[in-house]
């Protein structure tokens, strides 16, 4: 059962082979057994999970079950979940009990999904390795001496170790796709505006987007169906008809044009990673796809533009943490300003402070035009590059990351090295378009991820391509030896 897909779990529930309570106990047992090894969960509340499972079983007994009623999942600790501690990986919110549900959580509850707990993450989603969490780093189930990626590192590790069948994550610069790649999962960042940001603790509001992480494209589509769609509570939510993200899964790939950006397919790439990508492309060609060269001339500037725009938005968003309305307040201070400065100094970790200072600088008088507006102009050039490329192809392929999971401490001392490892994923967030990462190989026993990028609202197409690939390959079914 721990290796079953969401469709298989739903079918077992439907045919009464198993109850939601039994499934929930199974995964709670795995969490109790393995969480101390990988530190994927920050908060577990078994009684709440059991109560939700019993409610799901009752809904099913009454004949009101939906497609996923009773299936257990878990939420990244960035989503407010009513009555649950919600920390965002920070000391600042160590004692914050969310007084309401994020829309993503609310919709999952409505769909009868059972929450197993809150997943570890980089503090305020700022990081690519999960080393910035106040609650300790998450360990990669494939090699516990290595990082799981970030910021949705707890999410990725939990699914890879079979502590949850599927989870939610969020992606501001690659925070779903990069950990999915490093842990051997499929993870989708939807088009900006597809999933409500209401109740999701904000990092960079013009880039943040929630999405599903699971073993397969089919599972991602099923979970996204549960929580995507217009929400009046999020002013950037797009008013569109409800989509079925699984509607194209079975479509054959004949004629699919896969664009290969020459900026990503050159001698600079890691040889072993590029070999795994080439093998995956060969498989796609066997399935009927063709590959064409495309160009993204401004993509080289995406990391620089991102590390102006994201910290600028973060410095503004995180000004709400002042020790007055919620969160940490320093025990001693001399006056109001001193209370702010000491509460924020003690409540935030180093990486968060660094990004707030960068943001404060680029938004300050005299530097606004040179940095912030210039970064926004580059953002448009990068988005225009994607528009142009999609005139010649249906999807774009690339590696998700420059290499496989790295060791703890390998990059944490040098923020610039850490930032540059986001080169393949960041442009997508700046342009707002959807992208996913799926497993496509292994190097020395560590998973490799391939990224597929599509134009706005092409989630169903990305999931279709990946699903067809996953019918012909088994990379997404592999389990780390420690957790088999």
């Amino acid at each position: 059962m721990i290796h079953a897909s969401l469709r298989e779990l739903a079918s077992a529930l439907e045919t009464k082979q198993v109850s939601s309570l039994e499934l929930t106990e199974l995964f709670l047992g795995r969490i109790a057994q393995h969480n101390s090894t990988i530190n994927a969960f920050i908060t577990i509340d078994e009684e709440k999970s059991r109560a939700a499972a019993k409610a799901a079983d009752a809904t099913r007994a009454a004949g009101n079950a939906g497609p996923l009623t009773g299936v257990p999942i878990a939420h990244k600790d960035i989503f407010c979940q009513d009555g649950w501690r919600t920390t965002c990986g920070s000391r600042m919110l160590e004692n914050f009990i969310a007084p309401y549900n994020a829309t993503v959580v609310e919709r999952c509850n409505q769909a009868g999904l059972v929450s197993l707990g809150k997943l570890n993450m980089d503090e305020f989603a700022m990081g690519s390795s999960n080393e910035t969490s106040y609650y300790g780093p998450v360990r990669n189930p494939w090699d516990t001496g290595r990082v799981p990626g970030g910021s949705s590192g707890g999410s990725a590790a939990a699914v890879a170790a079979r502590l949850a069948p599927a989870v939610t994550g969020t992606d501001t610069g690659g925070s779903i796709r990069q950990p999915a790649a490093l842990c051997g999962l499929t993870g989708l960042k939807p088009s900006y505006g597809t999933v409500s940001r209401w109740g999701m603790i904000a990092f960079a509001s013009s880039l943040d987007q929630a999405g599903p992480m699971a073993h397969s494209a089919e599972d991602c589509g099923l979970l996204l169906n549960a929580f995507a769609g217009f929400d009046a509570k999020d002013s950037t939510s797009l008013e569109r008809e409800t989509d079925d993200y699984t509607r194209s899964l079975e479509q054959p790939l004949k004629g699919l044009r896969i664009g290969l950006p020459k900026e990503f397919f050159n001698a600079d790439g890691d040889a072993a990673t590029m070999a795994a990508i080439d093998a995956a492309l060969a498989e796609y060609r066997k399935l009927g796809a063709e590959t064409v060269e495309v160009s993204l001339p401004s993509i080289g500037q995406s990391v620089a533009a991102y590390y102006v725009i994201a910290p600028a938005e973060a410095s503004s968003n995180l000004s709400r943490f002042d020790g007055v309305r919620y969160g940490y307040r320093a025990p001693e201070y001399s006056d109001l300003n001193d209370m702010y400065a000491k509460s924020r100094a003690q409540g935030f970790g180093d990486e968060v402070k660094r990004r707030i200072l960068i943001g404060t600088y680029v938004l300050s008088h005299g530097y606004y035009d040179a940095y912030y507006l210039q970064a926004q102009r580059l953002r448009r050039l990068i988005a225009n590059d994607f528009d142009e490329a999609f005139k010649h192809c249906d999807v774009i392929a690339s590696p998700t990351t420059p290499g496989t999971a790295f060791k703890f401490g390998e990059k944490s001392g040098d923020p610039v090295q850490m930032y540059l490892s986001d080169i393949y994923t960041i442009g997508v967030n700046l342009a707002g378009i959807p992208a996913l990462s799926h497993p496509c190989g292994e190097i020395n026993g560590l998973p490799v991820g391939m990224q597929l990028i599509g134009p706005y609202f092409s989630e169903h197409r990305l999931l279709n391509a990946t699903h067809q690939y996953q019918q012909a390959t088994d990379w997404h079914r592999r389990t780390p030896a420690l957790f088999a």
């Binding site: 007084p99 309401y100 900006y192 505006g193 013009s206 009046a232 002013s235 797009l238 008013e239 500037q301 990391v303 620089a304 533009a305 102006v308 410095s315 000004s319 020790g323 007055v324 309305r325 919620y326 969160g327 940490y328 307040r329 201070y333 006056d335 109001l336 300003n337 001193d338 209370m339 400065a341 000491k342 924020r344 100094a345 402070k353 660094r354 707030i356 200072l357 960068i358 404060t360 600088y361 035009d369 040179a370 940095y371 210039q374 926004q376 102009r377 580059l378 953002r379 448009r380 050039l381 988005a383 040098d414 923020p415 610039v416 930032y419 540059l420 700046l430 342009a431 707002g432 706005y456």
Partner: protein, 117 residues
Amino acid sequence: MFPFFLRPFNTNLAILPLHIMAFTPEDVQRLAKLARIELGPEQVDATLGHLDNIFGMIAELRQIDTRDIMPMAHACDVGQRLREDKVSDGSLEQRDRCLKLAPESEAGLYLVPKVIE
């Protein structure tokens, strides 16, 4: 909607040297003060080195010619959706739940240190 984005590109700033200067401890302290984050002398030194490296990486974007390119503030160019100006989620019960999360509150109000003597 965002009239300040329509300002013409400031060419004076575009020709500033790539690295205006390295950060000084005073610069870092000024930023920390603006951001309301207390930094001790050791943290200032560590932060200074990191900021120099990060802005070394960011500096490249200032060399790109972006004249006539409209800044992109958001992923999709849609207008701001407005709603009627009325309370949609308020209740005394919810107010009290929120106030319970505050480090100090009293009589439905948040408490802060005395501002005016």
